[in-house]
Amino acid sequence: MQPVLILCVALLLGATPPKAADSHSQPAKAAAKTFPEVPGFRATPGPSYGPDNLFEYIDGGADAFLQFDFEELQTAAYLGPDKVEVTVDIYRHRDADRAYGMYALERPAGSAPIAVGVEGYAGTDHLAFVKGAFYVKMVQAGPKADFVLTRFAGRLAHALPGRTSPPAVLAAFPDGGRLPRAEKLAPRNFLGHAFLRDGVAVPYKVDGASFRLFAVRGKDAADVRNMVERYRAVAKAPASEVKTAGSERLKDPYNGEVLLRWDGPWLWGAVDQPPSLGQQLVDDLGKRLLRL
């Protein structure tokens, strides 16, 4: 790797550590390894971007990244044998859940997973994966050549710090009828409501009926009670004391009927007209969430 690249990456990544806790993220330490050497390829540094100018690189697409607390993008191009060119974009988010959320937002439905980092997917000449707080996108260009991105992905995944497992909350969603690799995460404005934060929705199809199960982790039980109160207000439900744990059906004017449960720091339920079978799944989800 060229010295200038190492210096740029080290300084640009390392000087702005993540604001929030991702105990696996050590950008300063890992920065110099971010764009690893790949035998046969020569790396050239590319521009970097922050939240204030990401739109200069990906235009309207930047807003979605900002919703997932994007912090920095580093780019590099590798030129290899026979003019094979590989472009690598490494997006760093505030924490691993945010990076996974952005990855999941862009992941094509039905794509086959690749075991790199937490997970990845590939097309004929592109590959994306997520590891820790990093969402990596690569493209191979040039004349006909063997697919080299798997090799790049392995080296990058080794160089980048961070966890290699998906957000723990995903394990709480039961399997029956669950659509694989179709979950969506939202750091804010979950289900379109500003008072719901850090939510996950997972689509299900049971006996021909499609609906979503969801889970929201509040800061504590009081935070969740506040969410329930505000949801009741939106649904124009009668006001009453919200206890630490409870259950009710609300008529969300925008999302339709919502089956809502809460206990301690967790709020969960089902939306999009869940069938009766969905209630059992909601119960199972609750039991698993409370064990996390």
């Binding site: 590319g46 204030d52 309207g60 094509p108 592109h126 493209v139 191979q140 804010r188 999302n255």
Partner: protein, 422 residues
């Protein structure tokens, strides 16, 4: 893999597609004169040639004010939906049910998932009840220079449009934009214009347009010159340094029959990069709509509360005096602008030239002139990692800037190769 195909997918995958409404906190600044003294942001004078909000015609039912989108003849409410951030179909349904008509997406948003999400909503609706706009970004577009590479294949437009239609579950879109242009030659690219016209004559799109968020006047005038475009989607907001020039070009384009759709009307959402002082979003949107030559605007929203705010503006787009005032006063508060008062001079125990560093920060972030910022930095005698040795900063800025944070931020710019300071 062929060269052309490789480059197409490369751009599509990495760049996500072209221009949009991404409004950055730093994307536009308060008006700054040549001697770099800060002036309060002045709202552009409202164009006087037409009433700001045309009254509904007798034949239209009571509802929100409607405007005609240039030569397309489409009647649309002044506020439309920028869909680019939304992944909740219920938000789109609520927007349409609330009276919005025009939806704006792009081939590349969310790697195509944005169009797929719309595809879960639109096929169930009456086709003439909504206006669907999408954009195609060409893989051979050279972002830095704004031109297309010689190997550009106009057929890429059709290929991407076909895929967009499949995702959307529609047999045609209403407006197809050439995405993200800012150079005259590219707007007038013969091969691409032919491909756009072909898409129109094939019935896969009813109208064609071009989108821009940089050099807007150049693009607007080139679109007029081309005589083939129907619509221009352009950045336009009260914080643009050149908003008067944009306003003038919008007027020329509208008079030439082009439909004008405004984006980035929310001007960055916050007044400064610390995101503590929000801009009055309704006022900012109304400011753009005050121009009768702006036929509709496409604010992006992700919550139902934001939707309700935008629906209120759609129903009553008149900018009140108080709202107009709210667009001026925050420019006077501490933001990105160092006034050069020199209060900080000599305060740093490590001897750092704080006034120069604050000025460099202002060049880089407020003026977005990173070359000037770097040039200034390189004249300064700075340690390798300034501020790293101090746990707490003792420098007190008269405007309350976080001096240490700004120093650490801007000092990194010294090591960025000059060619990347775009």
């Amino acid at each position: 893999m062929s060269d052309s195909k490789s480059s197409i997918e490369r751009r599509e995958f990495l760049k996500l597609g072209g221009a949009g409404i991404a409004a950055s906190a730093l994307s536009a600044c308060a008006t700054v004169t040549a001697d770099q003294k800060v002036q309060p942001v002045a709202a552009a004078p409202a164009p006087q040639t037409e009433p700001a909000v045309p009254a509904p015609t007798h034949s239209e039912p009571a509802g929100p004010p409607m405007r005609t989108l240039g030569r397309t003849g489409l009647r649309v409410p002044t506020v439309s939906m920028g869909v680019m951030n939304a992944d909740n179909p219920n938000l789109v349904k609520a927007a349409l049910d609330g009276g919005m008509v025009l939806l704006d997406t792009a081939h590349g948003y969310q790697e195509g998932r944005n169009e797929e999400m719309l595809g879960t909503v639109l096929p169930a609706r009456k086709r003439d009840s909504f206006v669907l706009c999408t954009k195609v970004y060409l893989s051979t577009f050279e972002r830095k220079g704004g031109t297309f590479l010689p190997q550009t294949r106009p057929a890429e437009i059709t290929e991407k449009l076909d895929l967009s239609l499949k995702r959307l579950g529609l047999d045609h879109v209403d407006i197809l934009y050439l995405h993200c242009q800012y150079v005259r030659e590219s707007v007038l690219h013969e091969g691409l214009l032919e491909a756009l016209v072909k898409a129109k004559s094939s019935g896969k799109t009813r109208f064609i347009g071009v989108s821009t968020h940089k050099n807007e006047p150049v693009v607007l005038r080139a679109a007029v010159e081309a005589k083939l475009y129907d619509v221009v989607l352009t950045s336009y907001n009260f914080r643009q340094d050149h908003h008067l020039e944009v306003q003038k070009a919008i007027g020329e384009a509208a008079r030439a029959g082009l439909g004008i759709v405004a984006m980035k009307t929310q001007a960055g959402v916050y007044w400064n990069e610390d995101k503590k002082t929000p801009i009055n979003m309704k006022a900012a949107l109304k400011w753009a709509l005050r121009d009768p030559n702006v036929h509709t605007a496409i604010p992006g929203f992700v919550s139902f509360d934001e939707l309700e705010d935008d629906l209120q503006v759609m129903r009553d787009p008149v900018l009140t005096a108080d709202e107009e005032k709210s667009l001026v006063e925050p420019a006077k508060v501490a933001g990105l602008y160092c006034q050069g008062c020199d209060t900080c001079a000599g305060q740093c125990p490590e001897g750092l030239p704080i006034p120069d560093l604050m000025r460099s920060y202002m060049y880089g972030h407020a003026y977005r002139n990173r070359e000037a910022a770097q040039s200034l930095l390189l004249t300064l005698d700075l340690p390798a990692t300034p501020c790293d040795d101090c746990e707490h900063c003792t420098v007190a800025c008269a405007k309350g800037f976080d001096v240490r944070k700004r120093v650490r931020d801007i000092a990194r710019l010294r090591h960025v190769p000059r060619e990347f300071l775009i």
